[in-house]
């Protein structure tokens, strides 16, 4: 049951081979057994999950045929869910029981899915290892001395360890794709604007995008069908025709043009990752694809540009946490400014404070043109590189991350080293393009390697097609860690 695809689970539920209550209980038992060692969930609430499962069983009894009805999905703790503790990985929100549902949560509820719990994450999604969480690090189920990646590290590890049927994540600079790669699962960041950000706690609003994390491309397509769609409560939500993201899964890949950016295979890429990615490209050639070398000359600037723009937006977004309306308030303070300063100093962790300070600095008087404006201009150059590249190819492929999962604590003292682990993913967010990661083998120490697939704007169905065809021809995505 734990290795079944979403389609198989849906069929079993509709055929009454198992009830949603039974399935949810199976997962809750597995979480109770394994979460103490993996720390993938911040909150589980069996009572609320089982109540949803009972309601789903009623819907199923009445002939509900929606793909996800009765299926337990883990939600990243960045999504506000009514009645659920929603911490965003921070002490600042240690007591925040959300009074409302994020759009993504509402879509899953409407589809009859069961909220299985809230997954661990880097604090306010700022991190690439899940080590900045106030609720402790997550251990990678493939090797518990290693990180799962971040910021959606809890979701990635939970999917890999079979603690949920699927999960959600968010991706501002690689936070779905990098942990998916490091945990050996599949994850998709859609085109900016495809999934509503309403009720998704904001980090960098011009880059944040929610997406699905699962064990296969087919599962991702079914999840994205539920998550995507216009929402008037997000001013950047795009009004588009409804799409079936699974429509092209079974198309052959004959004639697919794959662009390989030479900058993604240069210095800084580990040999083991390069080998696995090159083997995947060879497999794609066998499946009928052609390969062309492309160049993204400005992509090397994506890390510095990102570390101006994302902190600038974060410093603005996180100003709402002031100890007045919700969240943490310092126990002792003098005047109002002192209350703000102490509540924020005690409520935020070190990485979050660092980024707020970078943001406040680059936006401050006298520095705006040199940092923020210059970063926005280079952002356009980075986006134009992709536009140019997509004249020659249909999808772009390369590594998701320069190395496999690193050891817990290994990059703890050096923020810059940590930031560079997102070197291949950040440019995609800056351009607003869709990107995904799928498992493509194992590197040193038998740790999973991820293949990144980047699509043109609204190219999700095409990317999922490419990923699914690869997963029909290989079995990397069905390998599971031995966690027991």
């Amino acid at each position: 049951m734990f290795n079944s695809s979403l389609r198989q689970l849906g069929a079993a539920l509709r055929a009454k081979k198992i009830s949603s209550v039974e399935l949810t209980q199976l997962y809750l038992d597995r979480i109770a057994q394994l979460n103490p060692q993996l720390n993938t969930f911040i909150t589980v609430n069996p009572e609320m999950s089982l109540a949803q499962a009972r309601a789903a069983d009623e819907r199923l009894a009445n002939g509900d045929a929606s793909d996800l009805a009765g299926i337990p999905i883990a939600q990243k703790d960045i999504f506000c869910a009514k009645g659920w503790l929603t911490t965003c990985g921070s002490k600042m929100l240690h007591n925040f029981v959300s009074p409302y549902d994020a759009h993504v949560i509402a879509r899953f509820n409407d589809a009859g899915a069961v909220n299985l719990g809230k997954t661990n994450m880097d604090e306010f999604a700022m991190g690439s290892s899940n080590e900045t969480s106030h609720y402790g690090a997550v251990n990678n189920p493939w090797d518990q001395t290693r990180v799962p990646g971040g910021s959606s590290g809890g979701s990635a590890a939970a999917v890999a360890a079979r603690l949920c049927a699927a999960a959600t994540g968010t991706d501002t600079g690689g936070s779905i794709r990098q942990p998916a790669a490091l945990c050996g699962i599949s994850g998709l960041k859609p085109t900016y604007g495809v999934v509503s950000r309403y009720g998704m706690i904001a980090f960098a609003s011009s880059l944040d995008q929610a997406g699905p994390m699962a064990r296969s491309a087919e599962d991702l397509a079914l999840l994205l069908n539920v998550m995507a769609g216009f929402d008037e409560r997000d001013s950047t939500s795009l009004q588009r025709e409804k799409e079936d993201y699974a429509r092209d899964l079974n198309k052959p890949l004959n004639g697919l043009r794959i662009g390989l950016p030479k900058e993604f295979f240069a210095e800084g890429l580990s040999c083991d990752v390069a080998q696995a990615v090159e083997a995947a490209i060879a497999e794609y050639r066998k499946l009928g694809a052609t390969v062309v070398e492309i160049s993204l000359p400005n992509s090397k600037l994506s890390v510095p540009v990102y570390y101006v723009l994302a902190p600038a937006e974060a410093s603005s977004n996180l100003s709402r946490f002031d100890g007045v309306r919700y969240g943490y308030r310092a126990p002792e303070y003098g005047d109002l400014a002192d209350m703000y300063e102490k509540s924020r100093a005690q409520g935020f962790g070190a990485e979050v404070k660092r980024r707020i300070m970078i943001g406040a600095y680059v936006l401050s008087h006298g520095y705006y043109d040199a940092y923020y404006l210059q970063a926005q201009k280079i952002r356009r150059l980075i986006a134009q590189d992709f536009t140019e590249a997509f004249r020659q190819c249909d999808v772009i492929m390369g590594p998701t991350s320069p190395s496999t999962a690193f050891k817990l604590g290994e990059k703890g003292d050096d923020p810059v080293q940590m930031y560079l682990s997102d070197i291949y993913t950040i440019a995609v967010n800056l351009a607003g393009l869709p990107g995904m990661s799928i498992p493509c083998g194992f590197g040193a120490n038998n740790m999973p390697v991820g293949l990144q697939i980047i699509g043109n704007y609204f190219g999700e169905a095409r990317m999922l097609n490419a990923a699914h065809q690869y997963q029909l021809a290989t079995d990397w995505h069905s390998r599971a860690p031995q966690v027991l």
Partner: protein, 95 residues
């Protein structure tokens, strides 16, 4: 780029973050490293390039100026640190 402790103190004040002298010193070293990384941007010639503030070139959507939300004051205030008579309480700001 090397920041001074005074720079860090100023930024901490702007960001409303209380910081001890030791924290200022640690932050100074780490932020300087990050600004060295960011400095790579400065060499790029961006003359004539339009800044890109957003991933999609779409204009701001407008809606009817009509009330759409219902009053949920009690629910929202149930999670506030300190409220009284429907008001959020903070230290006195006006004598």
């Amino acid at each position: 780029m090397s920041l001074t402790n005074a720079d860090v103190r100023k930024v901490a004040r702007l960001a409303r973050l209380a910081m001890s002298a030791t924290e200022i010193e640690t932050a100074r070293a780490q932020l300087s490293g990050i600004f060295d990384l960011i400095a790579e941007m400065q060499a790029v010639d961006t003359t004539g390039i339009e800044p890109m503030s957003h991933a999609q070139d779409v204009s701001q959507r407008l809606r009817e100026d009509a009330v759409t939300e219902t009053n949920q004051r009690e629910l929202f205030q149930s999670i506030a640190p300190q409220v009284e008579a429907g008001l959020y309480l903070v230290p006195q700001v006006i004598e």
